[in-house]
Amino acid sequence: MSHFLEIPSRAAQPVAADELTSAQTGILDAILTEHRKLAGALMPVLHAIQKALGYVPPAAVPRIAHELNLSRAEVHGVISFYHYFRQQPAGRHTIYMCRAEACQAMGARALEAYAKKKLGVEFHETTPDGAFTLEPVYCLGNCACSPSVLIDGELHGRVSAQRFDELLEEST
């Protein structure tokens, strides 16, 4: 048995389940090449990766860190700090449901409960069929027409339970 402080060799480490595919690696490299010279490049890099791949794969972290001259801890720290960055893929449609006060004043708490029950998921979860990911959001800036929901980049106001059902229908 090896000493607990002994660092296992690279070969002895299990292969990460989420090793980057060659296509992902190509995209990642293109993004890093494009953004490397920007001052404070990390946020634009992470946005570009998430836009291209749908999430920021943990396996991308060492490469990002190396290219931007940061530690892996710094990169991971930033990814995990911001609610928007995902470390695993979302469903085919992402529903951002506003939880903030202006929406609460118009029934967002009840709508939230309805959506969770209807989809059978909690916040940050994806339906078993992979269709919908439900995410909370704190204000979509549509506070005079609340409650508000953002689905795949489309904003919807005055969303009732019935309207929520229609929006699910329209998405699929």
Binding site: L38, A39, G40, A41, L42, M43, P44, L46, H47, L68, L70, E74, G77, V78, F81, Y82, H83, Y84, F85, Y96, A100, E101, A102, C103, Q104, A105, M106, V137, Y138, C139, L140, G141, N142, C143, A144, C145, S146, S148, L150, G153, E154, L155, H156, G157, R158
Partner: protein, 516 residues
């Protein structure tokens, strides 16, 4: 002769179906053989009437709203392209009391112009402020802003001129202008409406700030929850570069100024200026200890002016019309106008730009028309999630920074969220602590830990577990958070909590059976 129609591309108008209305109008026009030109304007701010469609007629722009796709055929049949009568006809926007009684200074062009037409912008007074500024010395520009009495509209209300003077006096080869467009407060959307409806005025304001302190690089930090504002800003920046408003030779002056758009990632705390700067630098958005002030040591350690969207967008007007013109609006030490946002359970929600001094009651009733549900308005939260909950007895407070401070409240960014009498204020207090726990940057203990303990203590009060002891504990915790936190996040979270407890104690005592 083709008819000109205005169908807003403002996010709230889109949320209410403006895109589908546009399609219906296009279809109906081709069916009727009518030649039309469609302008995608911003919103006029009467958001309960969105989608609000305007038609240009010899008598002015006639508004119809709220228009749904099913109304479109009827509108054509009634002759709305000539401004004819129809149940949805509202007349001229300028004649509608909600709009006519406002003091539209910063929002003068929003909803009126094509946001992405520099010609339209110039025709409606755009770039006059910048032209004046180019003829002035840096010291004169800063003095004009100081004399106008303009205070930071992001929420902290710090005098803009003093911030600018500090950055001007700082010696450095590189200075930055940062626009804080991380409008995260619930109940606020004025930044969004301005960026979507008149983006060039923000760019012009940043240019004037750059001239005032000698900066060559600017950043707009926009929250990712605003995809529509992002697309308008991207287009506006490209147009500004193509027309030499930005770049190496601003309007032929030989001066350089560049602006980059950067997108946040869902962290409320990044609206706090030092967190925002850390985020721009590519770090976790954690609050910095002040001093040093950002004006002396800001982005990448260089002197930085960081101002809110509305603050910067108001500067061109001040340069164009002079400090006195702006200062003549308002009351006390609150000079000029504030774009107020009526939100939540309100009948006529929208944007009301008014000189400081009107009361909350006037806003809620004369403009807002009471609650959307028709029930009495029981509480309003002013100034976002860190703002106090105010009961009806305080509705006569004038909209003025000092008057609000006098009742332990704040105006913040001017968002007003109304709740009717079905609200459970103990749950609202709990949410304030929960929100702080979710959004705390984690740097200081009172905010990071205090908020989680706050949720637990409020839960015990609601459940009637040693209620009076826990109430003392909650007040004590709030004191610690208020005085021991690094920034307003932990420091002001006690405001909604304690105001709810003070003004609506009965909501905390609904459970009457004692739980051990």
């Amino acid at each position: 002769m083709s008819a000109t129609l205005y169908i807003p591309r403002d996010a709230s108008a889109l949320a209410m179906g403006a895109e589908r209305v546009l399609q219906a109008v296009t279809t109906e026009a081709s069916r009727a053989g009518a030649e039309i030109r469609i302008v995608r304007n911003g919103s006029r701010g009467m958001l309960w009437l969105e989608p609000l469609v305007e038609v240009a007629t010899p008598a002015g722009r006639i508004a119809y709203g709220p228009v749904q796709p099913r109304d479109v055929a009827g509108l054509f049949a009634a002759g709305f392209l000539r401004g004819a009568a129809h149940p949805l006809r509202l007349g001229k926007v300028e004649d509608m009391p909600y709009f006519a009684r406002q003091d539209r200074l910063t929002f003068a062009r929003v909803g009126e112009i094509d946001p992405l037409s520099l010609d339209d912008y110039r025709t409606h007074g755009g770039l006059r402020g910048l032209t004046r500024a180019l003829e002035m010395s840096a010291v004169e520009i800063v003095r004009t802003v100081t004399d106008s009495g303009l205070r930071g509209r992001g929420g902290a209300a710090f005098p803009a001129g003093i911030k600018w003077k500090t950055a001007l006096d700082a010696q450095s080869t590189q200075k930055y202008i940062v626009c804080n467009a991380d409008e995260g407060d619930s109940g606020t959307f004025s930044d969004r409406m301005l960026m979507e409806g008149d983006p060039f005025v923000l760019i012009e304001g940043m240019l004037i700030a750059a001239l005032a302190v000698g900066a060559t690089q600017g950043f707009i930090y926009l929250r990712c929850e605003y995809p529509h504002a992002q697309s308008v800003l991207e287009s506006a920046l490209a147009l500004a570069y193509a027309n030499h408003l930005l770049g190496a030779d601003v309007l032929g002056s030989g001066k350089r100024f560049d602006v980059q758009l950067r997108i946040g990632a869902g962290a409320y705390i990044c609206g706090e200026e030092t967190s925002l700067l850390d985020s721009l630098e590519g770090k976790r958005g954690q609050v910095r200890v002040k001093p040093p002030l950002p004006a002396i040591k800001g982005l990448f350690g260089k002197p930085t002016i960081i101002n809110n969207v509305i603050t910067l967008a108001t500067v061109p007007l001040i340069l164009e019309r002079g400090a006195d013109f702006y200062r003549d609006y308002g009351m006390g030490r609150s000079r000029g106008t504030l774009p107020l946002q009526l939100a939540g359970n309100i009948k006529h929600g929208g944007l009301v730009e008014k000189a400081f001094g009107l009361t909350l009651r006037e806003l809620l009733h004369d403009y807002g028309g009471g609650s959307a549900s028709g029930r009495p308005i029981r509480a309003v939260q002013v100034g976002g999630p860190l703002g106090a909950y105010l009961p009806e007895a305080q509705f006569d407070t004038p909209i003025d920074y000092e008057s609000f401070a006098g009742i332990k409240a704040m105006l913040g960014h001017g968002g007003i969220v109304a709740f009717d009498d079905t609200v459970d204020m103990a749950q609202q207090a709990r949410f304030a602590m929960e929100f702080c726990a979710i959004e705390s940057c984690g740097k200081c203990t009172p905010c990071r830990i205090g908020s989680t303990r706050g949720v637990e203590v409020i839960d015990r009060i609601i459940a009637n577990q040693a209620r009076s002891k826990n109430e003392i504990l909650l007040r004590d915790l709030c004191e610690t958070m208020r005085h021991g936190s690094l920034c307003a996040m932990g420091g002001l979270t006690p405001d909604p909590v304690l105001s709810a407890l003070e003004h609506f104690p009965e909501d905390f005592r609904r459970q009457t059976t004692a739980v051990s």
